[in-house]
Symmetry: D3
Subunit: 335 residues, 6 copies
């Protein structure tokens, strides 16, 4: 893989889920994970052996120390994580079951991250030697200062000639600080080269999405954001909370690359599936040297894998993802 | 909702299930719940915000205290629970898996409830201000005195003009005290207005049950029990222990109301599904003011919900049930 | 017991502790409890069979619903708990071990409770029929509005002639909103009749505290707060995190009542020990009709009991406390 | 060891204890064990490599099968366990803590064992080839038929010349069937050779029990029961629920044999401590060929060991007991 | 059932699996089981009430003691288990999920079993009174001495006229000691009468396997190994890791006996499924006295059952297997 | 702290302990940790913020990957960990209780580490820029090649002028490869500057160890190993498995530095206590710039801390250790 250094910006959260898939009203025990869209991307990249550093803010207590240790496990550089007074953002996740959807209770307001001053980071120093910057629509959603920090980072990234990737990650519950995502996001997206796209409006359980559907959607995006070079799409069909379909597509302005469609029955945990996909795209663009088919195959398989794993983080090795792509009899016991 | 006060009569049991779905011969750890058909109904009603009181008997030890605390959680009035020497009824439940059925080991013989004298309850006082009485076929099954207590309760309920609902709940293992259910139940059912009906003899996996099937079955019931105003039916098809179909029907003497059919794949725990259904009927008859379609839709959705939840009790809020009825894309994560 | 109705004011918190006494940096599983100084008092009072209602604020999500269910278990009236947007206050507790102290990470800033407007509660209605009001120094510490709400409550309580009890509960980490406890507390304490006192400055492991020590401290308090009728003291000696000594004293302006001294070796969880003590005082003042010796004996034994129980709440029955006071051979198995 | 075959008679129970030492009112998870005084003795004997068979009764369900499998683990012959309709006796055990005593809720009334007809066992066949019979005062306590079965067994044992050992095990809560232990036990004890004795009335925490004290108590017993050859005493001092002292004594009509006194601090579970002692006596009388000092040393050390182990059963190997007797620096890590 | 005594030879292993189906990189807790192909067969046979003894080798430490206790639970005779210095073989099993296969990390090299000298067992004594010998291809795979021990056992078995059954159980990772399975197995198989056969090369998800397919495969085997009387086949189709199809066939040289095809959706643990099948064959050949249809029906149902149970061992009773064969509505709750 | 780079050499092991302090014969669940004397030292150093790299060998499977991730958590550089075929060394630890000692079952023979060829490491490269080398007597014990590797490392370390520290860590069970520790260790120790010393032969529970005792022992060591500059001693008194005393001493050839004596009652886990001590010495020699009193105070407090923490690793921060040294009232809750 060519030389690279990837920077991500985002909040580090603690996730709490009732043990053994109980409901909130049934449990007195929670399992904890560290998560958040950008940390999930960073963890995957670190796990695949890439050089990645996360820009974030954590409070000064012992649980924040534990979060840092967790990040180091995956080889994520933590030297760009500021420590300051405040709280650690949390979110509570209740697992879905059959016709019942999953539930998320966000408890991330007023976290140390959202309260960070706009000039807290020295982006020139942070981007020194960096080649790629990744962010998602969650960061500008959480506070005005976070939105301004994102804008500042993108400005410096552009000045330094970094490639920029972005995951839209719209979360209605988060945009509370005054402006709407339609007001804020376009200016930020203008500086990006790789983006998650808006899936064509098709009922994927019952209809076929054509290459043309994807191409039209991708072209619309590129028209709006001229820096955009690659648009990636994931396509989810929901039969029940335990059974989805999953496929990916990539458009490079010229051609649509499609993947096989995965039947995801007996899903364990869908949270972080999109982050695993985006990390797969970033990895793929680096590792497969322009082979865009392999890139989107990797991203989609990695994300399919994630649905079978507890927690936000995609605990798989890149060799396992490669094997899933190539294998047809995927369910042998390896012994 | 109109003013109401609902009284239930029944035994309070402790359920023990091997942790993590192990078999009886594999476990040294059990999860406990409080259950029993009528308590399950009362818990749902309390949980939906209804005014409900349970008539029962518990021993005097600390675990019985815990059972009372559990009941209070749901807002069930416990002032009609007698305390006397004796044991707490138990039952052990082993989860099913694929082609293997679930197993129940009853250990409720000789409980304080079954040993209660016939005149232990002052029904005039208990029914003071009450509007509705609910019982099930489990209570007259467990002992002669329990059967006589049920008869006495029904007599006073009739005299006071209460509406009465009943769930047949036939359990072959329980009728051990001398008389059969055919000898005992008809006289009790004569005083009831809302009943669980006998499902038409149709293989629901492979055949369509027609409205006429339900109407015939309902009419037969009403002919036999002239006080009966509403008969409710649930219709279960069993593909495997983990995958059922589920639908409901209601007959009011004139018309058959049907619900959509739920595919219940990846079932977590079916115990208490029927109780959730009956509680939904009682709630629906109060809340939807004569809209019988909404009533049976609510009951059926509530019961479908229950199959995705560990334990006897249907840990859902009424808003969640309403949402499931109306939603088609039920499996979104709410975030 | 004479007729009474006790009102408490305070925040409802969720406590999270690493399972099996691990350190924060070692765990991925937490046990949860609901706690908070005033809720702990209310739970004990409800558990002893008293008529108690809690004034508080909770957010609108499912975990807050669970907190309400928890309160109802103990018979606490929840009709005075407001629901509003915001977060649930949390705190993380790490167990101590030998020479290592326990750790608390507060995460209660900006909770729904602290953000409540000053006039959110109709104290006239709340105190209708009430006989006693209990609060602690934690409430005025958490926000300016909470301090003002406390002041308002005390004003109405005085106007209505309620008896008022107070626990000073100084927590240095909490007083962050602008004023210090020395500025705020005295005006509030002026309206109180029963108070936790300042323990005489004696090394209880090595010195004897005399009756005179306690009387002097109590008199000083009464001089400063003329409404004060009863001052209660607890006396803790710390040999190690697992081994304390514990004793109580009560001063009524005339006489000092002392208890035996408990050796608390093999402590399980000291959090909530002071709350158990204060609840014991309130219960004792009601139940023992002026027998102040029995009152302080009960409070001290109840609190000793608490040290042997996991969680904030003192999960004991009043009969067990009475038995501990009278028994000398306390460690028999009852079988 | 000389050739032997030991027969025990007693009930097989399932014990349920709240996980992680919680109180009954705090738990929704129980750990289970199989126990009962005589099964505990049999398990120890089997574990020490002795030839032992248990006479008992179990119901026909899957949990009873699991109990049988449990017994076979220790090499206990189960061919004398009858199977019949009925329930499995249970008991719930809450762990003590500091000044709080342990709690036992018996739920063993009306078990299959207590309902067994008097002539259910063919004692001639059972005792064929047997050399020793062990029973305890728990069996005649649980029902009239169990008392009569015990009498019948003793009669045949005497006729066949077996040695008989007995543990008095008085449990006030159990003697409910009509006669008192004073009415029933003496006739049964007349046929016994080895007995648990009545400890001299001395406060062992503060006074020394003399050899004479034990000799007097033993002689009184032998005077009353002329077949008695050996009386064994255990001597427990209770500092707190977590800290006892423990010592043993044996009287053979001529001499008193004493053991060292164990400080049992940090006790894990005292239930079954007496059974471990009695099993140690039986093993010692067989293994040490008349060396009565070694016999009582072994029994007392084995029982001390038990206090450090969860559950009823003394999960130790005889080599470990021997090592504890001889070792002074008992707390090395063996590595 | 006719008189029989079955001898198995094989290694006893401890299996470790991450608790709650986590991945290796996610867990700090493992559940343990004792397993191994031949122990799994022996456990099933003991569990079905057969007379079975296992020839094996275990180290001398406490965990090996626990393994012996585990074997005794099922009634397996352990008198032929040697104890010697060395280690206990282990294997780590990670559960599969959807498109992800299961993983096994063997850690059984250099175990006490593999290091046993060729003449460690006195086969004449071991086979005294025996009627049947079972082994599998795993034993000759693990070391040269184990292969020679197998050869020696087969030689004596033949001399004494025992029936011999064999499961090929090819594990590529195990054949490391120098020779390949093609070099070693044929000479061993020559002495066998009942064998697992090579499934016809058919894609069972999409094609029908005909009786002729099985007959050709069986005849080829019998031509190669003239002692062979019965060849059994299992037929697995893999839709995903959680959903297989499963069917069995038996060829006796004349006729092919087929079973119904099981849809195994929601699989819990497939490890040991083949061992459950082979144990079912051995049981069936003894229990059904020449009814080969019943034999293969039993074996296939028993194995289907296993897929719904955690761990290597098939924790079912023979009555449950019989019931599954005969039942069409297999998913009733038995209450 | 002055610039430094510390290299350790040693085996990485997985430790398995029965959950909730059960005995080996009672558990089916194990908690796992990564440990080993030198890894424990490295983890502490990394945790204190030091620059540390570990030289070791791990197999190629997923559990070994997890071990590497664990190491990275603490900031240990893993670039000197070779990967090769073979197994991961394990050890099973059973917790002690009262008079019962702890048990360790080593299962580390034939691990990848012990099988590594003598010239596998390029010590010149590894020591490039390094200032300190730490090893322990466990490495030369496990295999001849490991002993030769240690010798080689020491040779290069001496050539490059590194400071060398050593912990004797004698484990009788480990020296199995042919030579005894007396034959091997002296030549290795000659190159060391900081050593664990032989505690004067005094019964620390009942006698005072004088400064002279320590000085004599230290001088003897320095006479034998002229490079030795510092000898450190820990002094443990064992009252029971749950209650030790603990103190430290340091001799620099001139003066004996002593610490206070800790009463360690309610010990949680003593394994790794010595490693925590040695890590504290190394940290102290770097951090306190010649203040040897502070150095030994830190090491002893850090080790005392370890006894209150589950697992091998001393999960404490250096600020906590400093606080324990200075604090007298160590058991306050920090809130
Ligand atoms: Ca729970
Ligand atoms: Ca996420
Ligand atoms: Ca188990
Ligand atoms: Ca039920
Ligand atoms: Ca953990
Ligand atoms: Ca508190
Ligand atoms: Ca619980
Ligand atoms: Ca017992
Ligand atoms: Ca974990
Ligand atoms: Ca196997
Ligand atoms: Ca267990
Ligand atoms: Ca170690
Ligand atoms: Ni789970
Ligand atoms: Ni699960
Ligand atoms: Ni899960
Ligand atoms: Ni589950
Ligand atoms: Ni378990
Ligand atoms: Ni479950
Ligand atoms: Ni623990
Ligand atoms: Ni604990
Ligand atoms: Ni504990
Ligand atoms: Ni605890
Ligand atoms: Ni514990
Ligand atoms: Ni404990
Ligand atoms: Ni325990
Ligand atoms: Ni599970
Ligand atoms: Ni599961
Ligand atoms: Ni499982
Ligand atoms: Ni513990
Ligand atoms: Ni522990």
């Amino acid at each position: 893989m060519k030389k690279h250094k990837i920077i991500t910006l985002g909040e580090i959260l603690m996730r709490l889920s009732p043990i053994r898939h109980k409901r909130f009203g049934q449990t007195t025990e929670y399992e904890t994970y560290y998560g958040g869209a950008e940390l999930n991307v960073a963890s995957s990249l670190g796990n695949y052996g890439m050089n990645v550093s996360m820009v974030s803010v954590l409070p000064e207590h012992d649980i924040a120390e534990d979060a840092l240790m967790h990040m180091r496990k995956f080889g994520i550089d933590t030297s760009n994580v500021l420590r300051k007074e405040g709280r650690l953002g949390l979110y509570f996740v209740e697992a879905p079951s059959m016709q019942r959807g999953g539930k998320v209770i966000y408890d991330r307001a007023d976290s140390a991250f959202t309260q960070t001053e706009v000039d807290a980071f020295d982006w020139d120093a942070i981007f020194e030697g960096a080649t790629w910057f990744h962010w998602s629509g969650i960061t500008p959603a959480v506070s005005e200062s976070a939105a301004l920090i994102t804008a500042k980072a993108l400005e410096v990234a552009e000045a330094k000639g970094l490639k920029v990737s972005m995951d839209y990650n719209y979360r209605a519950k988060l945009w509370q600080w005054g402006k709407s995502h339609e007001e804020v996001m376009p200016a930020l997206m203008e500086k990006c080269h790789v983006m998650s796209g808006i899936h064509p409006d098709v009922d994927v359980l019952n209809e076929e999405v054509t290459d043309l559907d994807f191409a039209l959607s991708g072209k619309e995006m590129m028209a709006k954001y001229p820096n955009c070079e690659v648009v990636v799409f994931s396509s989810r069909g929901v039969k029940s909370a335990n059974h989805h379909t999953w496929a990916g597509a990539l458009f490079d302005g010229k051609k649509v690359y499609r993947t096989k469609k995965y039947e995801l029955s007996h899903i364990v945990d869908r949270v972080g599936g999109g982050d695993a996909f985006m990390a797969g795209v970033i990895y793929g663009l680096h590792a497969f040297e322009g082979d865009l088919q392999q890139c989107i195959d990797f991203a989609t398989a990695a994300s399919a894998f994630k649905h079978g794993i507890d927690g936000d983080f995609n605990a798989v090795r890149k060799e396992e993802v490669m094997q899933m792509i190539s294998s047809s009899d995927f369910s042998k016991v390896d012994r």
